[in-house]
Every structure is written in C-alpha cells, then in structure tokens.
Symmetry: C2
C-alpha cells in the first residue's frame, strides 16, 4: 500500500516536471537544480554567480527552505527574478513547487534558472523538477566522507562541486579519499573545487554555467 | 490516502519506539538521539565524548548513514558497543532500525546510549526512536541562519549544540542572530557552544550527558 502511494506521488511529480521542462524550454531557459546539505554554501555560490554574471547573463532563482524568506532577500540584492518557496515540514522541492514558482517569474527576463533545493543531501535527489542538470554540492567543512555516504546524489549529478576551499587550511580534509570515493561511484562526472568567499575556482564554475545555457540554446536550435 | 498511510507508518513507528523505551529503561540505559546536518560534527563529538568518559561511564552507540561503515569504524576505536545501520535510500532512522540495533548490543555493558541519526536537519525530527532526549546540533560552518530555517528541530530538542566553535575566526557567524532565532522558537532550551577539535566547551556537554544518565536512574528509582 505504501509503495503504491509513493509510486503514485512520483508519477504525478514526473508529469508536472515534464510540463515544467516544456515550459522552460519553450522560453529558451536552461535550469539547474542545486542540491547540497544545509550550510554547504548554495546561496553564497548563487550570490557570487549573480555578481560575476551581472550584465552578461539574465538569471532567475527559485529557492526552497522549510521556513524564512532570508535566502530570497539575500539574492534579491543582485537579481529581480527571485521566488522563495517555504516547504513547511517538507524536506525537498517537488515539481509542483517549481510550477507555482515559475508562474511568478517573468520568463522573458531569464535565460538561466537556478533552483536552490532545500538543504538536504538525501531527499531532493529522487524528485525530478524539470531541470536540465542536477549539481551536487559538498563543502570542505562537511567532511571528506560525505561523497561515499551519499551515493545517489553522486550518481545522479551532472556536475559536483566542492565548496569552501578557503577553509582547507583550518579543517582536516583528505582530498584523495574524497575524489576516490566519487570516482568509484561516478567515474566520469566533473568535479570542481571553489570558494565563493575568496573567488578561487569560480571561473571554472562560471564557464560550466555558461556552457549549460549555450548547450540548451543549441539543443533548441537543433530540434 | 497518502495522509492515511503516513499516519499508519507513524503509528507503527510509535509503538516500536515505546517498546524500545521499555527495553532500554528496563536495562537502566539513558538514550540520546543526536540530530544534525551532514558534516555538523556528530561523529567527532561522540568520539571526543567516548574519550573523555572512558572508564567513567559505559557508553553504547547506534549510528545511522545511508551507506558505509565509516562512522562505526571511527567510534569502535573507543567503544566496544557500536552498531552501524545503513538506511540505503532512507533519510532518517526509524524505531524499527533502533530495535534491530539494540538486539545486537550487550545492554548489560551500557548505561548511556547515543543514537547518531542520519545526517539530515529535517526528516529525523518527526520519528520517535524510543530515546529519552533529542539533541539538535548546528555547526558554525553551517551558518547562522540554520536555526530559523529548521524550527521543528529547535522546538523538539531538549538541548541544542553549536559545534565547531574553533572555526569562528574564519567564518562570518552572527551569534546574536543565531541565539535570538532560537529564543523566539524555544525560549527555555539550553544552548551549549563547543569544539570537539580543541575541546572548548566540552565540559558543559559532558556534564549534561552525565546528568541525563543520573536523571534516568533517578526516575527509575522513583517508579
């Protein structure tokens, strides 16, 4: 009975996600779902990205949290297309949340959409939102064992980020172990190291983001 | 339909939790459920606690992760009563996991049981495991906004910890904001700051832990 209900929930979610994908593609918008633990630096990364791409790329942000408007307030300083979703007791975003958020955005002003998921390394992985790519985010301060402990995110991600590299001098972190754990689970996934605080490694991320938008436009042209 | 199923799952969970509580109390064991984000330092805290209480208090540990045996291996260096639970795709421990783990422990060798939940600030909060107290754990590196974003954990916790205070010089963290957010949600809950790395603040935690065991024994005597 429980399995049946969960399957139904996922089926409905997948249908809405497919609809989101159609709407976003029709508007020529590439979308990226950012998944990581609470405090891994998702919001700081988006803030820095908005600043670095100001005037170069039109970006929108949907941000999920159980409670508060704080992340949207932070990002609204650099972006006029931001929607905060509060999930209440919900531990992840679902396609339905994103559908409602899309309705509140001016899609004509966006070519790239960041979807900052609720801070959680587990539950968001199983829900398609209609995104083009999932990015799994780990922080130096989260510890070098977190890739091995969260295999589904590693397998499902198009890109992995290791954030807060500015803290490496202050925290024991075995980079070889962390990288080897990832390679065992997903041999080909790209891994970028960066610090949104001191800017280290941000160029690689920005380049990847720009390629996403370009590739989406390309795919559209080829269709 | 979905609500009905979730209610049934929680009802079964609560029954098993009550059974766990009876078994643990009959064995004169106090139990503490540690809930926090991945990388907030739960394992490091338990390791340090095991070292500080070696020869003074007999401690057992049940530790949950989606995958790997790493936390149990770390703690087994300081404790011979450790059980690792792998939840697979599960995002939290349930009473059923704890029941199976208890069956693998020698209860006669334990007076205090730590249950290290799966790293997740959201889902573990709603599941009674049979514990005597829930401890909500936040780290400096997780950011000063995490209390406000996770109100249910704040409300449900008997004690809150702010860990990794050794990182305060390297990370912007508004302690007044963090504390005020907690006070709004749970005016009376005790908040301890500590670093398992440099030992700062550990005495307060150790004292609280010892009081838990003492209070449980007291309650038992009074029954």
């Amino acid at each position: 009975m429980q399995v049946q209900v969960i399957e139904n929930v996922l089926k409905v979610n997948d249908e809405i996600a497919a609809e989101n994908r159609r709407v976003l593609h029709a508007a020529r918008i590439a979308s990226i779902d950012l998944i990581g633990a609470p405090g891994c630096g998702k919001t700081a990364l988006i803030e820095k990205t908005l600043q670095m791409l100001a005037g170069k790329m039109r970006i929108g942000v949907i941000v999920g949290d159980m409670a508060t408007q704080r992340d949207a307030d932070r990002m609204a300083r650099f972006c006029d297309q931001v929607v905060q979703i509060n999930t209440g007791k919900g531990c992840h975003l679902e396609a339905n949340h994103v559908r409602r958020a899309i309705a509140r955005l001016d899609l004509s002003k966006i070519e790239l959409l960041f979807i900052e998921n609720v801070g959680n390394l587990i539950c968001p992985v199983g829900f398609d939102l209609g995104q083009d790519a999932k990015v799994g985010i780990f922080s130096v301060s989260g510890g070098d064992d977190k890739a091995a402990k969260h295999p589904y995110l590693i397998v499902e991600s198009s890109l992995l980020l290791l954030t807060k590299t500015d803290l490496l001098p202050h925290i024991p972190f075995d980079m070889d172990l962390f990288t080897a754990d990832i390679r065992k689970l997903n041999p080909d996934v790209k891994l970028l190291q960066l610090s949104a605080k001191n800017g280290e490694g941000m160029e690689g991320w920005i380049q990847w983001v720009r390629e996403q938008a370009y590739e989406t436009a390309e795919a559209r042209t080829r269709q």
